[in-house]
């Protein structure tokens, strides 16, 4: 008799959804998290005022010693570092001549605690991309199949956005909570861009912050976003979606959830006779004692690199390439997002306007390249995130002057400042992969990963055009460009792969078992009671933020697994 109906490896963005859906369907679920438990009352730092921050919240020399990689992330500072791994304890290597930046945290809720909350659907051009241009393997589902699951994800998570938006590449189901208002300059910029380029649109960002909570959200103890923009420190109001604020409490209230923290999963157990996984094996990270947990089915939700590594590390005599890896694709086709094209400018008009509060959101310019406008030397495309605000004190203090005049100048709201930056799709290529290190392990005995991932001309050419577009759009808004990287993009200039924090693709979906480890239900082609719904399953990356897509696929796969469990198929 297994310990649980389902063992879920990982408690973050996708694992929380799997647990919620399965618990609500009446199944006993054990979520295994390798990090520590999160206690909002002690782990969240969102109530700290600026003057309570030690040492001006500047990153100290100790930060660079312990967190040389994580501390580069925009969301990392002294009051968020509790949510990022110490790089000294969690090493990885890169193949010679390659770069990779792996950003992550080990704790209940995973990166759903520190995510940027931007929530966009994939569209039909994304689901058709591989089939059309021949890169990767075709997606086994289309947008129509996913639309109701996106509705379900948006409704439960709570996404603020504009229900009147009509953007072909960013469909929605009309279930958004009220949108954030654009600033005066953003409204002007939207008109200017859409007038100059009828092929482009600028919309308010869609963000998983509650602007008008539903009864269901209130019942989970979640409240309205207070416009503090301290989300990366955790939210005591539960106002943004995280596994800790939303999915795990929903799972917990069914009475069917067990959470096990501080257990690192190293392998899946596999029964040769029945060809079923029977559970997980790992270690208690505090005592290093072995841990075994059994279940009728297993969901991998450890994120794209660990999930693939667990399968590779589960190799045995019958499965020398790793479990669920008859295709040989586990760990391969590592994709993500490539950022980098940006522009920043100042605007002297609209002096009569300011803004109130701190919006945890920006604007978004959806992809138009290789859609309504051609791309110059690359496939697929990119979108832009950005914001336009009156500059604060930080931009004014290093200017000439002292005394009362200096104070008066800083006190007066500064010039309008625009920033936009691109986020682009990366191409699925077999050669970009993660593998187990042949000899080195972490201190718990798990092989460390070796990343082997390179940009190609496709990514470089796309960012080069994005940089030029960024420059031109800031200029079109009537602003003076202060900085941009138009004309500067080379491979060396681009930040390392992984820096987009959206690693995915390592256990991809596809109808052809020789090309993809997972079928159209996020279920292993090889082992029917094994599922994976973290970023690993992504057959292509599209260019928009992926979390909402992970949510929708997780809910769909969990309900499919629930049907199979109910019917005794698995």
């Amino acid at each position: 008799m297994p310990d649980f109906d389902v063992v879920v490896v990982g408690s973050g963005m996708s694992g929380g959804w799997v647990a919620k859906e399965l618990c609500e369907r009446g199944f006993k679920v054990c979520v295994v998290e390798r990090g520590r438990e999160i206690k909002p009352e002690t782990d969240y730092t969102d109530m700290v005022d600026p003057w309570q921050m030690e040492h001006l919240n500047m990153k100290g020399p100790d930060t660079y010693e312990d967190y040389p990689i994580q501390s580069e992330v925009y969301a990392f500072h002294s009051y968020t570092k509790q949510f990022w791994v110490k790089d000294t304890e969690h090493p990885y290597e890169v193949a010679p001549g390659t770069r990779y930046k792996w950003r992550r945290g080990h704790h209940l809720g995973g990166r759903s605690i520190m995510w940027a909350r931007q929530s966009y659907r994939m569209s039909e051009i994304d689901f058709k991309a591989n089939a059309v241009d021949g890169f990767g393997t075709p997606w086994p589902v289309d947008y129509a199949e996913m639309a109701p699951w996106y509705d379900h994800a948006e409704r439960f998570a709570g996404v603020s956005g504009d229900n009147t938006d009509d953007v072909e590449v960013l469909p929605h189901g009309g279930v958004f909570q009220p949108p954030h208002e654009m600033t005066a300059l953003e409204k002007h910029m939207k008109s200017a861009i859409e007038a100059k380029w009828p092929t482009r649109q600028m919309i308010i960002g869609r963000t998983a912050n509650l602007t008008q909570p539903t009864e269901e959200q209130l019942a989970l103890g979640r409240g309205t976003c207070q416009a503090r923009d301290h989300c990366f420190r955790g939210c005591s109001f539960g106002a943004y979606f995280s596994a800790v604020s939303a999915t795990l409490p929903a799972a917990e209230r069914t009475g069917n959830l067990t959470i096990v923290t501080d257990v690192a999963v190293h392998k899946l157990s596999h029964d040769r006779a029945t060809n079923r996984v029977t559970g997980i094996r790992g270690v208690d990270t505090k005592t290093k004692a072995p841990v075994e947990i059994t279940g009728r089915a297993v969901f991998l939700n450890a994120s794209a690199i660990p999930s693939a590594m667990i399968l590779l590390n589960s190799a045995d005599a019958d499965n020398p390439k790793g479990l669920a890896n008859s295709s040989g694709h586990v760990g391969h086709n590592l994709i993500g997002h490539v950022g980098g094209g940006y522009a920043n400018g100042v605007y002297d008009g609209l002096q009569e306007f300011h803004h109130y509060g701190r919006r945890p959101n920006g604007f978004y310019i959806p992809r138009y390249r290789n859609h309504t406008e051609p791309g110059d030397g690359y496939l697929r495309g990119y979108g832009f995130q950005g914001g336009a605000h009156r500059s604060g004190w930080g931009g004014k203090i290093d200017k000439v002057g002292i005394g009362a005049d200096y104070k008066a100048r800083v006190r007066k709201p500064g010039r309008w400042n625009i920033w936009i930056g691109s986020f682009g799709e990366t191409m699925p290529r077999y050669e970009n992969h993660v593998r187990l290190h042949e000899t080195k392990t972490d201190k718990w005995g798990f092989p460390i990963p070796v990343m082997d991932c390179r940009w190609t001309d496709n990514e470089i050419n796309a960012v080069a055009q994005a940089a030029a577009d960024a420059h031109d759009m800031v200029e079109a808004a009537g602003a003076t460009v202060l900085a941009s990287n138009k004309g500067k993009i080379t491979e060396a200039y681009l930040s390392a792969p992984g820096n987009g924090i959206h690693e995915m693709g390592t256990i991809r979906m596809g109808d052809d078992p020789s090309e993809a480890p997972l079928n159209r239900w996020n279920q292993s082609h090889d082992i029917p009671n094994l599922f994976c719904t973290d970023g690993s399953f992504m057959t292509s990356s599209a260019c928009q933020n992926p979390s909402l897509t992970y949510m929708a696929f997780s809910a769909r796969a969990a309900n499919h697994a629930a049907d199979l469990l109910r019917d005794g198929v698995i």
Partner: protein, 198 residues
Amino acid sequence: MTRLNLTQANINRRSALTGLLAISASGALAACGQSSAATEAVQEFDVLGYAKPTKFFSGSEMRALGAMADTIIPSTDTPGAVEAGVPDVIQGLASEWGDDNFRQYWREGIRRVYKTLSGETKFLAMSPEEREAVLGAYDAKVYAGEIEDTFYRDMKKTVATAYYMSEPGATQELAYEAVPGEWIGQAPISKYPKTWAT
């Protein structure tokens, strides 16, 4: 919403620090002239090998720093840098946060800029008006590129950052809302005339 434990701990720690700040701030305001404390402090720390000194800057260095900080950000209709505790925040950075390079950079910088600003009359012995004239002239030359002084600019930025992050700097000089409650994208400047503190 009750305050979080961590916040409470910070408040307590900060209250304890504020007590210390009040003492040294008044000390800095009252002080004039230099003492031999700086030399003593250097010797003391050399013996300790800069291992976690509780107070790195000597009394005279703190007085010099305080006088310069209060000239950059004087008290007007709102408190100035010293009243806001700025020198003590910088003392904390040097004593608890930075490494030896940071400490030396600041010690040498404070002494050098102080010396540069002092003629026959030491900067600390000048009236506020004289300090403003001397420091203002130096500041203008630095920002005009006539004098290259990276440390001075670092000091000014740090003083300003500590000031605008302080409670009086954030809540009296600028406008601060810990919990705005809502976002208004397009608001009249007449209703919100001040720069937001964060």
